[in-house]
Protein backbone atom coordinates (compact mmCIF):
# COMPACT_ATOMS: atom_id res chain seq x y z
CA UNK A 1 0.00 0.00 0.00
CA UNK A 2 1.56 3.35 -0.91
CA UNK A 3 2.00 5.45 2.20
CA UNK A 4 0.83 8.66 0.58
CA UNK A 5 -2.56 7.18 -0.21
CA UNK A 6 -3.41 6.65 3.43
CA UNK A 7 -5.93 9.04 4.86
CA UNK A 8 -4.72 11.53 7.41
CA UNK A 9 -6.85 12.98 10.13
CA UNK A 10 -7.31 16.71 10.40
CA UNK A 11 -6.63 18.20 13.79
CA UNK A 12 -9.67 20.25 14.62
CA UNK A 13 -9.46 20.96 18.28
CA UNK A 14 -9.33 24.29 19.94
CA UNK A 15 -8.43 23.15 23.40
CA UNK A 16 -8.29 26.47 25.16
CA UNK A 17 -11.95 27.39 25.27
CA UNK A 18 -13.29 23.92 26.01
CA UNK A 19 -13.34 24.61 29.70
CA UNK A 20 -15.76 27.50 29.27
CA UNK A 21 -18.13 25.92 26.77
CA UNK A 22 -18.36 22.22 27.69
CA UNK A 23 -19.30 20.10 30.66
CA UNK A 24 -16.89 17.47 31.97
CA UNK A 25 -17.92 13.81 32.08
CA UNK A 26 -17.10 12.19 35.43
CA UNK A 27 -17.97 8.61 34.51
CA UNK A 28 -15.71 8.62 31.44
CA UNK A 29 -13.02 10.29 33.49
CA UNK A 30 -13.02 7.42 35.96
CA UNK A 31 -13.12 4.89 33.16
CA UNK A 32 -10.02 6.31 31.53
CA UNK A 33 -8.12 6.54 34.82
CA UNK A 34 -8.90 2.87 35.48
CA UNK A 35 -7.45 1.97 32.09
CA UNK A 36 -3.97 3.31 32.80
CA UNK A 37 -1.45 1.55 35.01
CA UNK A 38 0.57 3.11 37.80
CA UNK A 39 0.97 6.60 36.33
CA UNK A 40 -2.03 8.73 37.22
CA UNK A 41 -2.92 12.07 35.53
CA UNK A 42 -4.11 13.74 38.74
CA UNK A 43 -0.49 13.99 39.90
CA UNK A 44 0.30 16.41 37.06
CA UNK A 45 1.24 19.94 38.13
CA UNK A 46 1.29 21.36 34.60
CA UNK A 47 5.02 22.04 34.45
CA UNK A 48 4.92 21.50 30.65
CA UNK A 49 8.16 19.53 30.61
CA UNK A 50 6.45 16.81 28.57
CA UNK A 51 5.32 19.23 25.88
CA UNK A 52 8.66 21.02 25.69
CA UNK A 53 10.38 17.82 24.57
CA UNK A 54 7.58 16.38 22.46
CA UNK A 55 8.60 15.96 18.80
CA UNK A 56 4.96 15.93 17.70
CA UNK A 57 4.43 19.31 19.29
CA UNK A 58 6.76 20.91 16.73
CA UNK A 59 5.24 19.06 13.81
CA UNK A 60 1.58 18.50 14.67
CA UNK A 61 0.83 20.79 17.62
CA UNK A 62 0.36 17.95 20.08
CA UNK A 63 0.55 19.26 23.64
CA UNK A 64 0.70 16.29 26.01
CA UNK A 65 0.26 18.48 29.12
CA UNK A 66 -3.06 19.72 27.74
CA UNK A 67 -4.22 16.18 27.09
CA UNK A 68 -3.40 15.31 30.70
CA UNK A 69 -5.20 18.39 31.95
CA UNK A 70 -8.35 17.85 29.89
CA UNK A 71 -8.50 14.18 30.82
CA UNK A 72 -8.24 14.76 34.54
CA UNK A 73 -10.92 17.45 34.28
CA UNK A 74 -13.17 14.99 32.44
CA UNK A 75 -13.28 16.38 28.89
CA UNK A 76 -12.94 12.89 27.46
CA UNK A 77 -15.48 13.04 24.59
CA UNK A 78 -13.76 16.13 23.25
CA UNK A 79 -10.38 14.42 23.29
CA UNK A 80 -11.76 11.33 21.57
CA UNK A 81 -13.34 13.23 18.69
CA UNK A 82 -10.56 15.77 18.13
CA UNK A 83 -8.13 13.59 16.16
CA UNK A 84 -5.25 14.87 18.29
CA UNK A 85 -4.72 11.44 19.88
CA UNK A 86 -3.34 10.10 16.60
CA UNK A 87 -0.52 12.66 16.39
CA UNK A 88 1.65 11.01 19.07
CA UNK A 89 4.84 9.42 17.70
CA UNK A 90 5.25 7.13 20.75
CA UNK A 91 8.77 8.36 21.42
CA UNK A 92 8.15 7.94 25.19
CA UNK A 93 10.09 11.08 26.08
CA UNK A 94 7.15 12.53 28.02
CA UNK A 95 6.93 9.39 30.13
CA UNK A 96 10.66 9.39 30.79
CA UNK A 97 10.92 13.05 31.73
CA UNK A 98 7.78 13.78 33.76
CA UNK A 99 8.83 14.75 37.31
CA UNK A 100 5.48 13.53 38.62
CA UNK A 101 5.62 10.09 36.99
CA UNK A 102 2.50 10.83 34.95
CA UNK A 103 3.17 9.26 31.50
CA UNK A 104 1.06 11.30 29.05
CA UNK A 105 1.78 8.70 26.35
CA UNK A 106 0.05 5.97 28.39
CA UNK A 107 -2.97 8.23 28.76
CA UNK A 108 -2.98 8.83 24.99
CA UNK A 109 -2.99 5.08 24.37
CA UNK A 110 -5.81 4.54 26.87
CA UNK A 111 -7.80 7.26 25.11
CA UNK A 112 -7.13 5.64 21.72
CA UNK A 113 -8.47 2.35 23.10
CA UNK A 114 -11.57 4.16 24.31
CA UNK A 115 -12.02 5.82 20.91
CA UNK A 116 -12.03 2.35 19.35
CA UNK A 117 -14.52 1.07 21.92
CA UNK A 118 -16.86 3.97 21.27
CA UNK A 119 -16.30 3.78 17.52
CA UNK A 120 -15.26 7.39 17.10
CA UNK A 121 -12.70 8.60 14.57
CA UNK A 122 -10.14 5.82 14.45
CA UNK A 123 -7.75 5.72 11.49
CA UNK A 124 -8.78 2.61 9.58
CA UNK A 125 -5.24 1.35 9.11
CA UNK A 126 -4.94 0.76 12.87
CA UNK A 127 -7.89 -1.62 12.76
CA UNK A 128 -6.50 -3.38 9.70
CA UNK A 129 -3.48 -4.66 11.66
CA UNK A 130 -5.85 -6.34 14.08
CA UNK A 131 -7.68 -8.23 11.36
CA UNK A 132 -4.37 -9.17 9.71
CA UNK A 133 -3.17 -10.72 12.98
CA UNK A 134 -6.41 -12.65 13.34
CA UNK A 135 -5.90 -13.93 9.81
CA UNK A 136 -2.14 -14.66 9.68
CA UNK A 137 -0.86 -14.26 13.24
CA UNK A 138 1.35 -11.41 11.99
CA UNK A 139 0.68 -8.00 10.43
CA UNK A 140 1.69 -9.36 7.03
CA UNK A 141 3.01 -12.39 5.17
CA UNK A 142 6.62 -12.43 3.92
CA UNK A 143 6.90 -9.96 1.04
CA UNK A 144 8.87 -10.24 -2.16
CA UNK A 145 11.51 -7.57 -2.43
CA UNK A 146 14.24 -6.41 -4.80
CA UNK A 147 17.98 -5.91 -4.43
CA UNK A 148 19.65 -2.65 -5.41
CA UNK A 149 20.35 -4.28 -8.76
CA UNK A 150 16.60 -4.86 -9.10
CA UNK A 151 16.76 -8.63 -8.76
CA UNK A 152 13.55 -10.07 -7.31
CA UNK A 153 14.16 -12.06 -4.14
CA UNK A 154 12.25 -13.74 -1.32
CA UNK A 155 13.15 -15.57 1.89
CA UNK A 156 13.95 -18.79 0.08
CA UNK A 157 16.23 -17.14 -2.48
CA UNK A 158 18.03 -15.34 0.32
CA UNK A 159 18.67 -18.63 2.07
CA UNK A 160 16.44 -17.84 5.06
CA UNK A 161 14.50 -20.64 6.79
CA UNK A 162 10.82 -21.13 6.05
CA UNK A 163 8.52 -18.62 7.75
CA UNK A 164 5.94 -20.24 9.99
CA UNK A 165 2.57 -18.78 10.91
CA UNK A 166 0.92 -19.85 14.15
CA UNK A 167 -1.56 -22.73 13.87
CA UNK A 168 -5.38 -22.60 13.87
CA UNK A 169 -5.55 -22.94 17.65
CA UNK A 170 -3.96 -19.51 17.96
CA UNK A 171 -6.66 -17.87 15.88
CA UNK A 172 -9.44 -19.38 17.97
CA UNK A 173 -7.71 -18.34 21.19
CA UNK A 174 -7.01 -14.82 19.97
CA UNK A 175 -10.59 -14.42 18.82
CA UNK A 176 -11.71 -15.33 22.32
CA UNK A 177 -9.35 -12.72 23.79
CA UNK A 178 -10.89 -10.03 21.60
CA UNK A 179 -14.43 -11.10 22.50
CA UNK A 180 -13.64 -11.07 26.18
CA UNK A 181 -12.02 -7.63 26.12
CA UNK A 182 -15.18 -6.25 24.53
CA UNK A 183 -17.38 -7.60 27.29
CA UNK A 184 -15.42 -5.78 29.98
Amino acid sequence: MPIKARATIPISMSITDLTTTKKPDTALRLKIIAKIGEQKPYNCFQCIRCTSGCPSMKMLELKPHEIVNLARLGFIEELLTSGILWTCATCLKCKERCPQAVAPVDLIFALRNLAVEKEVKVPESFLLSLSAILENGFIQKPQNTVTRKLERVNREKLGLPKFREPDEKFKAAFFKVLEQSQEE
Binding site: I3, K4, R6, T8, K35, E38, P55, S56, M59, L60, W86, T87, C88, A89, T90, C91, L92, K93, K95, E96, A103, F109, A110, N113, V116, V122, P123, S125, F126, S129, L130, I133, G137, F138, I139, Q140, K141, P142, Q143, T145, T147, R148, K149, L158, G159, L160, P161, F163, R164, P166, K169, F170, A172, A173, F174, K176, V177, L178, S181, E184
Partner: protein
Protein backbone atom coordinates in the same frame (compact mmCIF):
# COMPACT_ATOMS: atom_id res chain seq x y z
CA UNK B 1 25.60 -20.45 24.40
CA UNK B 2 22.06 -21.20 23.17
CA UNK B 3 19.76 -18.18 22.92
CA UNK B 4 16.10 -18.28 21.86
CA UNK B 5 15.22 -15.73 19.19
CA UNK B 6 11.90 -14.04 18.43
CA UNK B 7 11.90 -12.06 15.18
CA UNK B 8 8.47 -10.36 15.32
CA UNK B 9 6.54 -9.23 12.20
CA UNK B 10 8.68 -6.71 10.36
CA UNK B 11 12.06 -8.45 10.25
CA UNK B 12 11.02 -11.84 8.81
CA UNK B 13 8.48 -10.43 6.33
CA UNK B 14 10.45 -7.56 4.77
CA UNK B 15 13.63 -6.51 6.66
CA UNK B 16 15.58 -9.59 5.60
CA UNK B 17 18.94 -7.85 5.87
CA UNK B 18 18.61 -7.68 9.65
CA UNK B 19 17.70 -11.36 9.98
CA UNK B 20 20.46 -12.45 7.60
CA UNK B 21 23.16 -10.43 9.34
CA UNK B 22 22.15 -11.52 12.85
CA UNK B 23 22.09 -15.16 11.70
CA UNK B 24 25.52 -14.65 10.10
CA UNK B 25 27.35 -12.98 12.99
CA UNK B 26 26.00 -14.79 16.05
CA UNK B 27 27.60 -18.23 15.47
CA UNK B 28 31.02 -16.57 15.18
CA UNK B 29 30.48 -15.11 18.64
CA UNK B 30 29.57 -18.47 20.12
CA UNK B 31 25.83 -17.74 20.15
CA UNK B 32 23.58 -20.47 18.79
CA UNK B 33 20.15 -19.08 17.91
CA UNK B 34 17.10 -21.24 18.61
CA UNK B 35 14.05 -20.27 16.52
CA UNK B 36 10.63 -20.42 18.16
CA UNK B 37 7.69 -22.29 16.70
CA UNK B 38 4.08 -21.08 16.62
CA UNK B 39 4.81 -17.50 17.71
CA UNK B 40 2.77 -14.53 16.48
CA UNK B 41 2.88 -10.73 16.37
CA UNK B 42 4.33 -9.12 19.55
CA UNK B 43 1.31 -6.92 20.21
CA UNK B 44 2.74 -3.48 19.36
CA UNK B 45 0.49 -2.93 16.31
CA UNK B 46 -2.67 -3.43 18.40
CA UNK B 47 -1.67 -1.37 21.44
CA UNK B 48 -3.60 1.64 20.12
CA UNK B 49 -6.67 -0.43 19.47
CA UNK B 50 -6.86 -2.96 22.27
CA UNK B 51 -4.25 -2.93 25.04
CA UNK B 52 -5.40 -6.16 26.76
CA UNK B 53 -5.05 -8.01 23.43
CA UNK B 54 -1.55 -6.56 23.03
CA UNK B 55 -0.52 -7.77 26.48
CA UNK B 56 -1.96 -11.20 25.72
CA UNK B 57 0.07 -11.47 22.49
CA UNK B 58 3.26 -10.41 24.26
CA UNK B 59 2.71 -12.86 27.12
CA UNK B 60 1.89 -15.66 24.69
CA UNK B 61 5.19 -15.24 22.85
CA UNK B 62 7.07 -15.10 26.15
CA UNK B 63 5.30 -18.28 27.29
CA UNK B 64 6.38 -20.06 24.10
CA UNK B 65 9.96 -18.88 24.64
CA UNK B 66 9.88 -20.09 28.26
CA UNK B 67 8.85 -23.55 27.04
CA UNK B 68 12.31 -23.98 25.49
CA UNK B 69 13.79 -23.97 28.97
CA UNK B 70 16.48 -21.54 27.82
CA UNK B 71 17.62 -18.64 30.02
CA UNK B 72 17.90 -15.92 27.39
CA UNK B 73 15.63 -14.59 24.64
CA UNK B 74 16.85 -12.27 21.89
CA UNK B 75 14.43 -9.67 20.48
CA UNK B 76 16.18 -7.93 17.58
CA UNK B 77 13.29 -5.48 16.99
CA UNK B 78 12.88 -2.41 19.22
CA UNK B 79 9.08 -2.59 19.03
CA UNK B 80 9.02 -6.20 20.18
CA UNK B 81 11.49 -5.39 22.93
CA UNK B 82 9.23 -2.66 24.34
CA UNK B 83 6.07 -4.69 24.00
CA UNK B 84 7.49 -7.76 25.72
CA UNK B 85 9.30 -5.86 28.47
CA UNK B 86 6.15 -3.83 29.15
CA UNK B 87 4.04 -6.99 29.42
CA UNK B 88 6.68 -8.56 31.69
CA UNK B 89 6.47 -5.48 33.90
CA UNK B 90 2.66 -5.40 34.14
CA UNK B 91 2.52 -9.12 34.83
CA UNK B 92 5.20 -8.89 37.51
CA UNK B 93 3.08 -6.79 39.87
CA UNK B 94 -0.51 -7.45 38.78
CA UNK B 95 -1.41 -10.95 40.00
CA UNK B 96 -4.98 -10.63 38.75
CA UNK B 97 -3.86 -9.77 35.26
CA UNK B 98 -1.41 -12.67 35.29
CA UNK B 99 -4.17 -15.05 36.30
CA UNK B 100 -6.44 -13.76 33.55
CA UNK B 101 -3.72 -14.05 30.92
CA UNK B 102 -2.84 -17.56 32.05
CA UNK B 103 -6.48 -18.66 31.88
CA UNK B 104 -6.54 -17.48 28.28
CA UNK B 105 -3.20 -19.12 27.49
CA UNK B 106 -4.47 -22.46 28.80
CA UNK B 107 -6.52 -22.78 25.58
CA UNK B 108 -3.21 -23.51 23.88
CA UNK B 109 -1.59 -25.36 26.78
CA UNK B 110 0.69 -22.45 27.52
CA UNK B 111 1.65 -20.80 30.76
CA UNK B 112 3.40 -17.52 31.45
CA UNK B 113 5.89 -17.57 34.33
CA UNK B 114 8.07 -14.55 33.71
CA UNK B 115 11.23 -16.62 33.92
CA UNK B 116 13.05 -15.89 30.66
CA UNK B 117 15.47 -12.96 30.44
CA UNK B 118 15.02 -10.69 27.43
CA UNK B 119 17.76 -9.03 25.39
CA UNK B 120 17.98 -6.74 22.40
CA UNK B 121 20.75 -7.22 19.83
CA UNK B 122 22.67 -4.27 21.26
CA UNK B 123 22.82 -5.25 24.92
CA UNK B 124 23.20 -8.93 24.11
CA UNK B 125 26.38 -8.05 22.19
CA UNK B 126 27.53 -5.43 24.68
CA UNK B 127 26.77 -7.13 27.99
CA UNK B 128 26.53 -10.87 27.30
CA UNK B 129 28.96 -11.50 24.42
CA UNK B 130 31.18 -8.62 25.58
CA UNK B 131 34.10 -6.60 24.25
CA UNK B 132 36.87 -9.20 24.22
CA UNK B 133 34.93 -11.71 22.14
CA UNK B 134 33.80 -9.06 19.66
CA UNK B 135 37.30 -7.63 19.22
CA UNK B 136 38.60 -11.17 18.67
CA UNK B 137 36.31 -11.72 15.68
CA UNK B 138 37.29 -8.52 13.85
CA UNK B 139 39.26 -9.39 10.71
CA UNK B 140 38.98 -6.01 8.97
CA UNK B 141 39.02 -3.12 11.43
CA UNK B 142 36.89 -0.22 10.26
CA UNK B 143 39.55 2.37 11.02
CA UNK B 144 38.84 5.88 9.86
CA UNK B 145 35.09 5.54 9.56
CA UNK B 146 32.99 8.25 11.19
CA UNK B 147 29.54 6.89 12.00
CA UNK B 148 26.36 8.32 13.47
CA UNK B 149 24.27 6.03 15.66
CA UNK B 150 20.50 5.89 16.05
CA UNK B 151 19.28 3.74 18.94
CA UNK B 152 15.53 4.11 18.41
CA UNK B 153 13.12 5.22 21.13
CA UNK B 154 11.68 1.92 22.27
CA UNK B 155 14.79 0.31 23.70
CA UNK B 156 15.82 3.40 25.67
CA UNK B 157 12.65 4.51 27.43
CA UNK B 158 10.90 4.41 29.86
CA UNK B 159 13.36 3.73 32.66
CA UNK B 160 10.53 2.21 34.71
CA UNK B 161 11.23 -0.84 32.53
CA UNK B 162 14.45 -2.75 32.04
CA UNK B 163 15.85 -0.62 29.20
CA UNK B 164 18.72 -1.62 26.93
CA UNK B 165 20.81 1.45 27.73
CA UNK B 166 20.67 4.78 29.60
CA UNK B 167 17.59 6.73 28.41
CA UNK B 168 19.20 10.14 28.04
CA UNK B 169 22.82 9.23 27.36
CA UNK B 170 23.10 5.80 25.75
CA UNK B 171 26.65 4.57 25.09
CA UNK B 172 26.46 0.89 24.18
CA UNK B 173 26.13 1.19 20.40
CA UNK B 174 28.85 3.86 20.45
CA UNK B 175 31.12 1.39 22.31
CA UNK B 176 30.19 -1.45 19.97
CA UNK B 177 31.24 0.72 17.03
CA UNK B 178 34.48 1.63 18.74
CA UNK B 179 35.35 -2.07 19.22
CA UNK B 180 35.28 -2.44 15.43
CA UNK B 181 37.82 0.35 15.01
CA UNK B 182 35.38 2.97 13.76
CA UNK B 183 34.44 6.23 15.47
CA UNK B 184 30.99 7.09 16.70
CA UNK B 185 30.35 10.73 15.97
CA UNK B 186 28.61 12.75 18.69
CA UNK B 187 25.75 14.84 17.31
CA UNK B 188 22.98 16.80 19.03
CA UNK B 189 20.09 15.04 17.24
CA UNK B 190 21.18 11.57 18.39
CA UNK B 191 18.02 10.92 20.40
CA UNK B 192 15.57 12.28 17.81
CA UNK B 193 12.73 9.92 16.89
CA UNK B 194 12.41 8.44 13.35
CA UNK B 195 8.64 9.04 13.29
CA UNK B 196 7.73 5.54 12.06
CA UNK B 197 4.83 5.23 14.48
CA UNK B 198 3.12 8.18 12.75
CA UNK B 199 3.08 6.48 9.35
CA UNK B 200 -0.48 5.24 9.71
CA UNK B 201 -2.05 8.54 10.68
CA UNK B 202 0.31 11.32 9.54
CA UNK B 203 2.73 10.01 6.89
CA UNK B 204 4.04 13.42 5.89
CA UNK B 205 4.96 14.22 9.48
CA UNK B 206 6.59 10.79 9.82
CA UNK B 207 8.69 11.43 6.72
CA UNK B 208 9.64 14.87 8.00
CA UNK B 209 10.88 13.40 11.32
CA UNK B 210 13.13 11.01 9.41
CA UNK B 211 14.17 13.55 6.80
CA UNK B 212 15.33 16.15 9.29
CA UNK B 213 17.41 13.58 11.15
CA UNK B 214 18.99 12.18 7.97
CA UNK B 215 19.72 15.69 6.74
CA UNK B 216 21.59 16.64 9.91
CA UNK B 217 23.55 13.38 9.94
CA UNK B 218 24.51 14.01 6.32
CA UNK B 219 25.39 17.65 7.00
CA UNK B 220 27.58 16.68 9.98
CA UNK B 221 29.59 14.59 7.54
CA UNK B 222 28.91 11.08 8.82
CA UNK B 223 30.00 8.18 6.60
CA UNK B 224 26.83 6.29 7.53
CA UNK B 225 23.96 6.08 9.97
CA UNK B 226 23.90 2.87 12.03
CA UNK B 227 20.56 1.60 13.36
CA UNK B 228 19.25 -1.36 15.33
CA UNK B 229 15.50 -1.36 14.70
CA UNK B 230 13.66 -2.57 11.57
CA UNK B 231 11.09 0.24 11.72
CA UNK B 232 13.79 2.91 11.90
CA UNK B 233 15.67 1.19 9.08
CA UNK B 234 12.56 1.25 6.90
CA UNK B 235 12.25 4.99 7.41
CA UNK B 236 15.92 5.90 7.00
CA UNK B 237 16.99 3.36 4.39
CA UNK B 238 14.07 1.91 2.44
CA UNK B 239 12.16 5.19 2.20
CA UNK B 240 15.14 7.55 1.99
CA UNK B 241 14.13 8.87 -1.45
CA UNK B 242 10.55 9.74 -0.48
CA UNK B 243 11.74 11.10 2.84
CA UNK B 244 14.13 13.43 1.01
CA UNK B 245 11.39 14.52 -1.38
CA UNK B 246 9.10 15.36 1.56
CA UNK B 247 11.60 17.76 3.11
CA UNK B 248 12.93 18.98 -0.24
CA UNK B 249 16.49 17.80 0.29
CA UNK B 250 18.80 15.54 -1.64
CA UNK B 251 19.60 12.72 0.73
CA UNK B 252 22.34 10.25 -0.04
CA UNK B 253 23.58 8.67 3.14
CA UNK B 254 24.31 4.98 3.73
CA UNK B 255 22.13 3.43 6.45
CA UNK B 256 22.74 -0.05 7.82
CA UNK B 257 22.16 -2.27 10.84
CA UNK B 258 24.85 -2.63 13.47
CA UNK B 259 24.79 -6.39 12.81
CA UNK B 260 25.60 -5.69 9.15
CA UNK B 261 28.47 -3.43 10.17
CA UNK B 262 29.78 -6.08 12.55
CA UNK B 263 29.55 -8.64 9.74
CA UNK B 264 31.61 -6.37 7.47
CA UNK B 265 34.29 -6.09 10.16
CA UNK B 266 34.25 -9.87 10.57
CA UNK B 267 34.92 -10.17 6.86
CA UNK B 268 31.64 -11.90 6.03
CA UNK B 269 30.53 -11.66 2.39
CA UNK B 270 28.26 -8.65 1.97
CA UNK B 271 25.48 -10.70 0.31
CA UNK B 272 25.36 -12.99 3.33
CA UNK B 273 24.68 -9.87 5.41
CA UNK B 274 21.83 -8.79 3.13
CA UNK B 275 23.68 -5.59 2.26
CA UNK B 276 22.47 -5.90 -1.34
CA UNK B 277 18.95 -5.27 0.02
CA UNK B 278 19.67 -1.88 1.59
CA UNK B 279 18.25 0.90 -0.60
CA UNK B 280 20.54 3.64 0.66
CA UNK B 281 23.98 3.99 -1.01
CA UNK B 282 25.83 1.47 1.23
CA UNK B 283 28.34 0.83 -1.57
CA UNK B 284 29.79 4.26 -0.79
CA UNK B 285 30.53 3.00 2.70
CA UNK B 286 31.88 -0.33 1.50
CA UNK B 287 34.33 1.47 -0.77
CA UNK B 288 35.52 3.55 2.17
CA UNK B 289 36.27 0.43 4.19
CA UNK B 290 38.70 -0.48 1.43
CA UNK B 291 37.34 -4.01 1.48
CA UNK B 292 35.24 -3.81 -1.62
CA UNK B 293 37.25 -1.64 -3.93
CA UNK B 294 35.41 -3.02 -6.94
CA UNK B 295 31.93 -2.86 -5.41
CA UNK B 296 29.64 -2.32 -8.36
CA UNK B 297 27.47 0.77 -8.38
CA UNK B 298 23.76 0.13 -8.08
Amino acid sequence: MKVAVYWGCVIPTIQYGYEMSVRAVMPRLGVELVDLDNVSCCGTPVQSVNMPAAIYLAARNLAIAEKTGLTNLLLPCNGCYLSLSEAKHFLSYDEKLKEKVNTLLKEENLQYEGSIKIWHTLNLLHDLVKEEKIRETVRHPLNGLKLAVHYGCHILRPSTLQTVDAPENPRKMDNLIGWLGAKSMPYPEKLDCCGAMLLLSHPDAAFTFSGLKLKTVQDWGADALVVSCPSCQMMFDMRQKSVGATIGAKLSIPVLYYSQLLGIAMGIETEKLGLHLNRSPVDDLLRKTGLISTAASP
